[in-house]
Amino acid sequence: MDSQKLLQLWSTTGLANFEWGQLLMIAVGLLLLYLAIARRFEPLLLLPIGFGAILSNIPIAGIADDNGLLGYLYQIGIETGIFPLLIFMGVGALTDFGALIAMPMTLILGAAAQFGIFFTLIGALLLNFIPGFEFTLADAAAIGIIGGADGPTAIFLASRLAPDLLGAIAVAAYSYMALVPIIQPPIMRLLTTEAERKVKMSQLRHVSRLEKIIFPLTVLLLCTIFLPTSAPLIGMLTFGNLLRESGVVDRLSKAAQNEIINIVTIFLGLAVGSKLQAEKFLTLETLGILLLGMTAFAVGTAAGLLMGKVMHRLSKGKINPLIGAAGVSAVPMAARVVNKVGLESDHHNFLLMHAMGPNVAGVIGSAVAAGILLAIVGG
């Protein structure tokens, strides 16, 4: 037997090539799988991302390399921005903006909650005082967008402003979105009084089909006039929504809601996983990003709640401030959390529908914020 051949085979085993970082990242991948499967934390994204993390850290195989499967997916779908934009189209096709149209004032709540984005941006810059951190303004903006609580927006912006941080930002965004039921309730209880939480809101008015058709066009035209840099995101969101509401292209609407979003979700998750390669992910920056991401969600929630309290006053008690927390987006998790916390105070107070208004407003809000960051930082 030729011992040279044996040596060659040995040299291609994982055993002979492992680095500690890769082992650690495979463990991280397994942890994400555990969270996705056993704890059901955003499984649609965290399962593919977790699996992608494992695949990317297999030595020799080069699956995340430029000519490996995950590398190709990254180049095709994320470098180009195609995947997050197609997901956004699907989100548009899946979203009923009726609650928002019935109660447009809730857009203010969706605006307020974006404060989490800019607060975190400042936080990232503050970290630069600690030796080892050297976040640029673009890095900080990409990190801040975690506070938008919207996966595709975060991936789209990070791929433009700070591709090296994309893995950590995507993982933080989806993980904290999954943690919304844990992060939000204490803040909600802290910032609102029992009386406020008991406020029942009046039933939403009927929204006609024509209003629902005009809505996405209105949003797109405003975006065209005021903030074209957010047009790719807002454009695909409103396109998906128009497919849905127009009622004349059911075939296409269903394709956007099912085939396209499902296929792209698999590929997007795997491609994001390709950015969890040990040498890129195991850095001090990642630690900072995970920390800041948590803050982002907490601050966004608080900002939404405080604006909710203002509106509670201004409306003479007609608005339950809890629905402000849904303004961070994280659709529909945050709206459900609002509903649950509301029910704790009054077993007959169903806030789900009222929370859907700020909830979907938050999606638009963070896409707008992303547009501003692109306009000023990405220039």
């Binding site: 149209i101 447009p104 004032m105 857009l107 203010i108 969706g110 605006a111 974006q114 404060f115 984005i117 800019f118 607060f119 941006l121 400042i122 810059l125 503050l126 630069n128 005082f129 303004l137 900080a140 903006a141 006609s208 089909r209 024509l210 209003e211 058709i213 005009i214 809505f215 209105t218 949003v219 405003l222 975006c223 005021f226 903030l227 009622g247 004349v248 292209v249 059911d250 075939r251 407003a361 638009i364 809000g365 707008v368 914020a369 501003i372 960051l373 000023i376 930082v377």
Partner: protein, 80 residues
Amino acid sequence: MTVTELLLEGVQLMILGMGTVFLFLGTLIAVITLISRLLHRFDSPPIPTAAETEDPLLPAVVAAAVAQYRRDHPHPTTRR
């Protein structure tokens, strides 16, 4: 750029950013409200509903299948 200068940039960005977000969504409130009022003044024109949507090719195909079926299964002459 020093960290302090960066921070200053960041704060400006925050003010501009939140300002724009509120402006944008605020304008959206105004426009949505306006449109709703306009629409409710005139009764909304009757747009055909989704149920009427049809596949551009399917009907012909179905018709073809039906016709084919009829030809292949001639029904007995109806008496009454």
